[in-house]
Symmetry: C2
Subunit: 360 residues, 2 copies
């Protein structure tokens, strides 16, 4: 079912939100990001299967936002769980966790919710839903708070007058609120710095053109869309001062998986001696993944490349490869901004030092 | 006026041609490349103004092909020239030459045709048209021959089993026949080398997805389309052995202007220690342009970025920049293949050594 108005509970102070749990805990309301910028339309989802499908179909995208969506999906699962509660929830969690492979936040949020499940198995059904809803909303709120904090930390590195390149969308639409990379940009703007943003359009899914441009324009932040191809020429002309992006998974050594094309931006920063920054909540850090080589890279449908809407771009029968993410090695990343402080110089020691596991 | 069948006079042994002068010298027949790969449709152009507009609107594109189109346009101009012949032709030439700014072949072909005009001013009108038609066809044939020769030279650098990245379309569709970068690929294939081509889709105009894929698939050469964003990850995985591209203008010091995104490919080759080659006829070399900094870079309409067909990709009111070309500095180019031999190491001395001006 589709509704025309946003659910009015964003944490961001904006009039939109990628995902919310309705007050009655019976529906997840999700902005259909596939329709932006042409239509601002919300879906209502009533089962955890609906949520898993919406994640797989990219109604919602962005590692933190799909983590929050997964947590809300687990609330819906609790409403309809039959048989042994813990087992039913584990099965629902498994179904949600495989909706997309690269972002670790998805598995992280499911695991967090299953920890809560373990403590409430004996409680009445209605109470279980209440407890899980509170836990999911806490994940959402913590993500929003983390973004504010990493935005504050990252904004210190943004010089007044800077032109900032960003790739894909790591904004309010990709997170609980405020954004990771766009949180850094929002915080710099809020601090009165005069900044200009170049948004790579980010083929094939065009999150930069469609979503980053939409968000920043709504906030009155100076944004110009360029093709991914044009970024190099702006670097060559000395017109970019720094790049900041989000992350889908960060390995224990600081390697960063993010939207396809991110590694190319990092290469350009390296060659042109400009800092390349990553902003991500700790839920994106996967310390059990030793290096980027262990991060699974999602291969998405060729159709994302061969067609835009009904317009065919590639001749029939021609092969297409469509990896959705790439890995940027830690040595190309100047710093990773997290709510636990900046990881810098990026490497296993600095990751371990910021880790909540540290000193355990 | 549109016709449904190709004019049957390509020099390439293929069943298509980007541009031909009809046997009666009264029409230019041009494949409408904007419609590929969905439709293979030809336009008939009857005035030099039609040709200038077709070049500006990118019915035909590719530096050598627009040079040949310009020469044919001058034949049409001779048919309708009134008043003083040389002056009328100079005016027509000026109109054609400004249709697009970056490719030097356009101005080169017009200048070549005006040299011919200077020698035939006193001749009867019908004879002037005959002479100019022969000169224009000679330009076309020379370009096709040049491509065969640079293909032969370039193919020597392609190892058996190589995976080759190319950007934009520097093929039969962009030239008189056979192609420059794709000429190198065709020659390697014809020599029995087992090669695989990765074609960057080449936003915003998608010449790689639409045209390079179409050409190579028709020739039975193994081609896979990727987004421009994905190229870096293939380099990172060691899956690309070399890159070869065409050129729109080459400065006297060996700097290369080519389709936007080419500089990014050259940066990736440099960082991953893979050779970056350019293939171009001497008509693309502008020795009067000392460095790439003097090459005018065409800025095209934002609409190429904001829309694909009727699908809107960028929100209303958001700024877009759409430079159509970039400049790759000579130091990033391993060699430039021309019909006069390879320019290597790329720099002013090697350009001068290959130049037809050499020793004058």
């Amino acid at each position: 079912m589709r509704v025309a108005v946003p659910h009015p509970a964003p944490l961001s102070g904006t009039t939109y939100s990628p995902v919310e749990l309705a007050p009655g805990n019976d529906r997840v309301v999700m902005l259909d990001q596939r329709e932006l910028p042409q239509r601002e339309e919300y879906c209502e989802l009533v089962t955890h299967g609906d949520v898993a499908r919406a994640i797989g179909d990219m109604v919602v995208r962005g590692a933190p936002a799909i983590g929050i969506s997964a947590a809300y999906g687990m609330v819906l699962a609790a409403r309809t769980a039959s048989g042994e509660f813990s087992r039913a929830m584990a099965e629902a969690g498994a179904e949600i966790a495989v909706a997309r492979p690269t972002a670790v936040n998805l598995a992280w949020a499911v695991a967090r919710m299953l920890e809560v499940v373990a403590g409430i198995a004996g409680r009445p059904a209605a109470e279980r839903v209440e407890v899980l809803a509170a836990a999911a909303r806490a994940i959402h709120r913590a993500d929003a708070d983390a973004n504010r904090e990493m935005g504050r930390i990252g904004a210190e590195r943004v010089p007044d007058g800077a032109t900032i390149l960003t790739h894909c969308n790591a904004g309010a639409l990709a997170t609980g609120a405020y954004g990771t990379a766009l949180g850094v940009i929002r915080a710099a703007h809020a601090a009165g710095k005069r900044i200009r943003v170049l948004a790579d359009e980010t083929r094939p899914y065009l999150q930069g053109a469609r979503l980053t441009a939409w968000e920043l324009a709504r906030d009155g932040i100076d944004v110009t869309v360029i093709t991914d191809n044009a970024a190099a020429s702006f670097f060559g002309a000395g017109a970019i001062d720094l790049a900041v992006v989000g992350a889908d998974r960060i390995a224990g050594n600081g390697d960063v998986a993010n939207k396809i094309g991110t590694y190319g931006v990092a290469c350009l920063c390296h060659l042109h001696e400009r800092p390349f920054y990553v902003a991500a909540p700790w839920s994106t850090v996967d310390e059990d993944c030793p290096t980027g080589a262990s991060i699974p890279i999602e291969q998405r449908s060729p159709r994302e490349v061969t067609h835009v809407g009904s317009v065919q771009l590639v001749p029939d029968g021609v092969a297409v490869q469509n990896p959705s993410f790439d890995v940027t090695p830690a040595r190309l990343v100047r710093a990773i901004f997290t709510e636990r402080g900046a990881i810098e110089p990026v490497g296993p020691a600095a990751v371990a030092r910021r880790s909540p596991r540290h000193g355990r």
